[in-house]
Symmetry: C2
Subunit: 350 residues, 2 copies
């Protein structure tokens, strides 16, 4: 067993990436049962739901990770919401949606006192953060539970910053990764075109850090795991490969897009987009990304972009269309198969 696996409390140095909106305890338990570290994404659920998920995990007596976003929320920007609605106006018209009735909303809540209390109650093996770290006071409380603390870095500078603040390991999130970029040191508006790929980022981090580096982004089969280890990673975090797992809660339109991509990898195209939440995240290119994005400066700050696009997503999904849905996915779908999570974990063990 590697030192990282010992830290994670698992047989394998392999983390199932937390994927807000597409999975919960079912996938996490399946992965932890198979010797990896299952993850519970806290970013898109209420505290009540999170408590229920943690109780579910705790009853399994398996190690697990809970992941929190720790962005700085910004005040609701009504003008920006209306500006984004103006860009979306032709789509509203197409679906007969009355834009005036869609109010701005703040979207997701960051890690908080109340969330921290749940950590103190349930004491997971690992707590991971995205978009930096919470306040020193909250971080100290998390540490006091005995949890191992991880966070994502999208640049070597971010990795060094996290190491200096005492995280136990850094997740080097290469540009290939699906979902939200963890950018936090620089404004994402200037950072996004400079994001290093997994190969470059992992090589740089492994060379410069003294704590373990966990490679993420484009890792979906045994060959890419071997590549990550060759670069100096102590382990890997894998997300997209689990999106078609039986135990994932991936939506029908998302599953359809993933199946199509896996069947026609030469047509599989992803891009970073801010259209769905206000921060850049990687997903399969769909109609709205092609027509107004993938990056559109009219979209409000995180996570206020969601309010304006949500009714379009609902209307399109009601017609089985993913044209307005976030179809999060990394750049390498080689390992994205419709099977049980344990088989996917097995395929990633080298």
């Amino acid at each position: 067993m590697s030192a990282l696996a010992a830290m994670l409390g698992t047989r394998h140095a392999l983390i199932q990436a937390p994927m807000a909106g597409t999975q919960g305890p079912k996938l996490a338990i399946a992965c932890s049962s198979a010797g990896a570290l299952g993850s519970i994404p806290a970013a898109a659920v209420s505290l009540e739901t999170l408590a229920a998920h943690l109780a579910h995990m705790q009853s399994s007596a398996l190690p697990y990770n809970v992941n929190f976003f720790c962005h700085q929320p910004t005040p609701i920007d009504e003008a920006q919401h209306r500006a984004y609605q103006a860009v979306l106006a032709p789509f509203y018209a197409e679906f007969g949606i009355d834009a005036a009735r869609i109010a701005p909303a703040s979207g997701r809540e960051p890690f908080s006192e109340a969330a921290c209390a749940l950590i103190e109650q349930f004491r997971p093996q690992v707590v991971s953060f995205h978009f930096g770290l919470p306040t020193d006071a909250l971080l100290a409380r998390v540490r006091a539970t005995g949890a191992q603390v991880l966070s994502s870095a999208t640049t070597l500078a971010e990795a060094l910053w996290l190491q200096a603040r005492g995280v136990d390991a850094v997740i080097a999130q290469g540009n290939e990764a699906g979902g939200h970029r963890g950018v936090f040191l620089e404004n994402w508006r200037t950072a996004w075109p400079k994001q290093p790929g997994t190969l470059a980022l992992v090589a740089q981090c492994a060379h410069s850090l003294r704590i373990p580096v966990i490679a993420a982004g484009g890792i979906s089969d045994a060959r890419s795991v071997r590549a990550a280890l060759a670069l100096g990673a102590a382990g890997v975090q894998v997300g997209s490969a689990f999106l078609l797992a039986h135990e994932a809660d991936t939506s029908p339109v998302h599953r359809a897009a993933l199946r199509s991509s896996a069947a026609h990898p030469e047509e599989h195209q992803t891009a970073l987009t801010n259209l769905f939440t206000g921060r850049p995240a990687r997903g399969i290119v769909n109609r709205v990304m092609r027509e107004i994005g993938p990056i559109n400066w009219a979209a409000p700050e995180f996570a206020q972009a969601t309010a304006a696009i949500a009714p379009l997503r609902s209307a399109a999904e009601a017609q089985s269309s993913g044209d307005f849905s976030p179809l999060w996915c990394g750049q390498n779908i080689a390992g994205c198969r419709e099977t049980d999570a344990a088989s996917i974990v097995s395929s990633l063990i080298v």
Copy 2:
């Protein structure tokens, strides 16, 4: 010796990437002498200079590669040239440059009848192309010389397209790579935000192609070479690691930027930019990229952007500033050292 090395006529399955503007026969001979495949970039030199370079290579009796751009030139677009000049106007004013005197120019010439005649005369071991392939007629003439033909793919779709047209091996150019993206199947204006990273692209190509895949992008030391091979690559193409080699012709401002990046890897930031030629190419972020780019839609088509920015580059370089120079470089500068090329080749052998 690997099958790819046999094809290249070398001891090692390692190509020194052709880097137009920063190297010529001196670096190529040093690399070929050390058992790699040295390359001669044809894109930025006249046919007379190219002939001299090829004669120089031929006299070494070593295997080598000649690289050509095969873009479709577009007619000179005076209006676009003036539009780009308008964006650059504050910089012209700063340097006291009279913009009206700067005429539009077509920039680089693609592979041609005359260039093909040089291939027929000198018969290099390998001919590689960027931006697709030349016409069938010209390609047949290159093949008839017995040269191995390579070309770059930036997506799996491009790799399959090249394989179908009979290239001997595909260079999988991941997004980490320095210099021009070889994008050719899709317009670069929509393709650039979707470019796959080296890890994802090499994995996909190695899985789907029957011909050898040569990994490029972010590969600059033994660990990244091992990672590329783990992904299924038959060999690697390495550029940036040679930019500080004694035998390279890298300019003083370019060398200064590379030295600074290598000394402070946490501050090393690169981005794709169209400011210098009109097509996206990866370079170290400098003042002009920060202030009007890195991607600016006012820049004319390839390679007409060069005319407007060239006087600023000259004026700044005269003051030892690289603020307006293309500082081509990949995302991983781990192997970028000031030493002889043979030592760099040695460091890449696994």
